[in-house]
Structure formats: structure tokens, C-alpha cells
Amino acid sequence: MHARIDELLSLRDGATVDARVRAHVDQCGDCAAALAGTKSLRERLRALPPAPALAADGWAELQGRLAVQAGRRRRLAQVAPFAAAASVAALALFATLRGFDAPSHPAAGPEPLVVLDDESVEELRARSQALDELLAAMPQRPAVARAGTSVPIETLEAEVQWLDHQLSLAGAEPDAAVPGTERLWRDRVEVMDSLVRLRYVEAQHVAL
């Protein structure tokens, strides 16, 4: 029986292979040629040329994007508390106008967020997880959304995704040893809180 390609690749990479397979490849011309083929293919892949140089330098564009990102994060940090407050106000207004009784569902009317400066990473992570669960418990987003809530929701979702990526990069390290991890979790709690509130307002629009 001939060696399978995964066995040939294991042989090529020096991984553990059944002795019978090794003995067969030593004796079988076809298998020896196939083994040489896997080595040759690897060398050809390694010898492929690099991406061609671009006419544009790219550094100036990158600097511009860095400045925009920095501005965006600053603005978000400034706007997030107001967005949360506006959401709560909108919620209160709807409740008053419609004689709305706040349901007992956990997604309804979350408590105003207070993120204390001395909260530990563990506490922030637990808060963040609770907000994730709250969000997951909310109804599906409407197929046709209002621009007034849809755009900020998508912005906040993108921000959460960005923070999650940052946290995943830091994830392999012990929390306390990674500078900025606490800040990331704090940001995530704040952004998630705003997101939950906006989603709640959106859900109320649909329900009304």
C-alpha cells in the first residue's frame, strides 16, 4: 500500500511516522518521488517573489489614517456617555408617552452605567460578560432599521469588534502584565453599555 500524502508530509517535516510507512517509501520509487515532490513544492513556495512595490509610498496615507483613528476614539470617548444618557432619556420619554410599563425582561431598561476607576480587570470582564448576555437576550434586529439608531449601533458594534481584537491580541498574556488591558476592558464595558441601550431603544421602536 502506498503512503498517503499526509504521511509523506509528516516524513518531510520529520514528524513521527509509522516505521512500515517509512520503510515502504524507502523502497517504492513512486512514493519516494512523491516525497521529493512535497519538498520541491515547499521550496518553490518559499522562492515566490514578494509583493511588487507600489508606486504610492503609503506612509503619508497611514499617518492620515492614524490621525483619523485617534480623533475617532477621542470623539467616541466624549460621545459615549451622552449617547447613553440620550438613550435613557429617549426610553423614559417613550415610556411616559405610551404609558409603557417597563417589562421584567433583563434587556429592558438597564441601570445607568457607572464604571468605577478602581474596578479590577476581573470585575470589568464580569461586567462586560453580563452586558454580552444582556445583548444576546435581546430580540433580533429589525430587517429595516431606522437610520437614527442603526448607524450608531453599527459604529458601536465595530468598536466592540475592534476592542475584542485588541483584547484577543493581549489574551495570551497575564492581564496584570499587559499595559492597557484594563483600559481596553473599561472601554469595552462603556461601549457595550451604550450598545445595549441603543439596541433597547431600537427594540422599543419596533414594538411600538
Binding site: M1, H2, A3, R4, I5, D6, L8, L9, S10, H24, C28, D30, C31, A34, G37, T38, L41, R42, R44, L45, R46, A47, L48, P49, P50, A51, P52, A53, L54, G58, W59, E61, L62, Q63, R65, L66, Q69, H165, Q166, S168, L169, A170, E173, A177, V178, P179, G180
Partner: protein, 197 residues
């Protein structure tokens, strides 16, 4: 081998970039621009998307310098960010939808100009074309394993699976590349698990 291996920087460049020194940040960009672009180009089939992703990688690298603790190589850290960015892109519904639409619209039509075409290297061009025809997972696995030197366990973890997933994808990628590169020369021997010698 990985172009990242030749691209490390003196440690003080990273330290200075971390404090916001623009010249040090630019030095990082210039040192890693080509390896990042090349890796993104190999992992992501669309050249335009790969270029965008390469810029995104530098945004992330320069914004996250505080998180680099200096325990591993800086080049390895930049490479890890590049790989993660590309995988996030490949997993995105947007990318998958685009691939599906492209497959319908361009069946049998080559839409991207591989790098080897620019270098006028026929053999490399064939290989690049064959690489581009692999599925996303197979292409990522064969490149990360055979060129970048990632282990199967590392690749499995990046893909949200196990080392076995990486091994099976590598075998599939090699079989497919061989088929594409040697359409007349591929023998059935050694491919199936149970043919007789």
C-alpha cells in the same frame, strides 16, 4: 522562508516608537511594509483587499505598541497581527459573500494579476495561479506551515480547531496544488490511502 525573519529592528526603535517618535514609527513601517504586504497578499486572494489589510495591520501595530512586551521578536509580533487580521477578513461574511459572487461571475476567468507575472517568471506564475485557486483555509494552512514555519498546533489554534485540521488541510492543499501544477503528471499512486503498490 518567511520574509519577516530578515526584518527585525533595533530594540530602541520600538521603544522610541512607543513614546510617539514619528521617525521610529516610520522606520517600523518601512522595515515591515514589504513582508506584511507579501504575507497579506498570499493569504488573501484579492490584491486590493490585501493592500487595505496591510495598512490596517500598521494602524494596529502602531496603536498597540504598548502591548509589545519585548519577550519575543518584534517581527514575530507584527507577523502574528498580520495573520490575525487576514484570518478575520477571510472569516467575515462580507468576504465569503464576495468569493461566492466572484466564483459565479468569473468561472474560469483570471481576475487578479499574480506577483510572478510582474517578475515574468513562468513557473512561479503557475504556482501563484494554483495557490489562488485553493480554498481559503487550504491556502492559509499551506502558506503558514510551509513558508512561515507555523506548527500544526499553532495553525489549528488560529483556525479555531486542532492540529489535525491543519494536517488534513495541508494534505489537501498539496494534493490540489500537485493536480493543478502537473495535470498530466499526477499519478494516482501515493494519493489514495488504499491503492496497492
Amino acid at each position: 522562508m518567511s520574509a519577516f525573519l530578515d526584518s527585525d529592528l533595533p530594540h530602541d526603535t520600538v521603544s522610541r516608537a512607543r513614546t510617539g517618535a514619528a521617525d521610529a514609527q516610520e522606520a517600523i513601517y518601512r522595515a515591515f511594509r514589504q513582508p506584511v504586504r507579501t504575507l497579506a497578499r498570499r493569504l488573501v486572494p484579492s490584491a486590493a483587499q490585501a493592500e487595505d489589510l496591510a495598512q490596517d495591520v500598521f494602524i494596529e501595530v502602531l496603536q498597540s505598541l504598548a502591548r509589545f512586551d519585548g519577550r519575543g521578536s518584534f517581527a514575530g509580533w507584527v507577523r502574528a497581527i498580520t495573520v490575525r487580521k487576514c484570518l478575520m477578513h477571510l472569516r467575515s461574511p462580507w468576504h465569503r459573500g464576495r468569493r461566492w459572487v466572484e466564483a459565479l461571475a468569473t468561472a474560469g476567468v483570471e481576475t487578479e494579476l499574480p506577483e510572478a507575472a510582474v517578475a515574468n517568471d513562468g513557473e512561479a506564475l503557475d504556482l501563484e495561479r494554483a495557490l489562488a485557486k485553493l480554498g481559503d483555509t487550504a491556502r492559509v494552512v499551506v502558506w503558514l506551515h510551509d513558508v512561515e514555519g507555523y506548527t500544526h498546533a499553532e495553525i489549528g489554534s488560529l483556525l479555531g480547531g486542532t492540529a489535525s485540521l491543519s494536517k488534513s488541510q495541508l494534505a489537501r492543499a498539496h494534493a490540489r496544488l500537485r493536480e493543478l501544477l502537473e495535470p498530466d503528471g499526477v499519478k494516482t499512486a501515493c494519493m489514495p490511502a488504499s491503492t496497492n503498490c
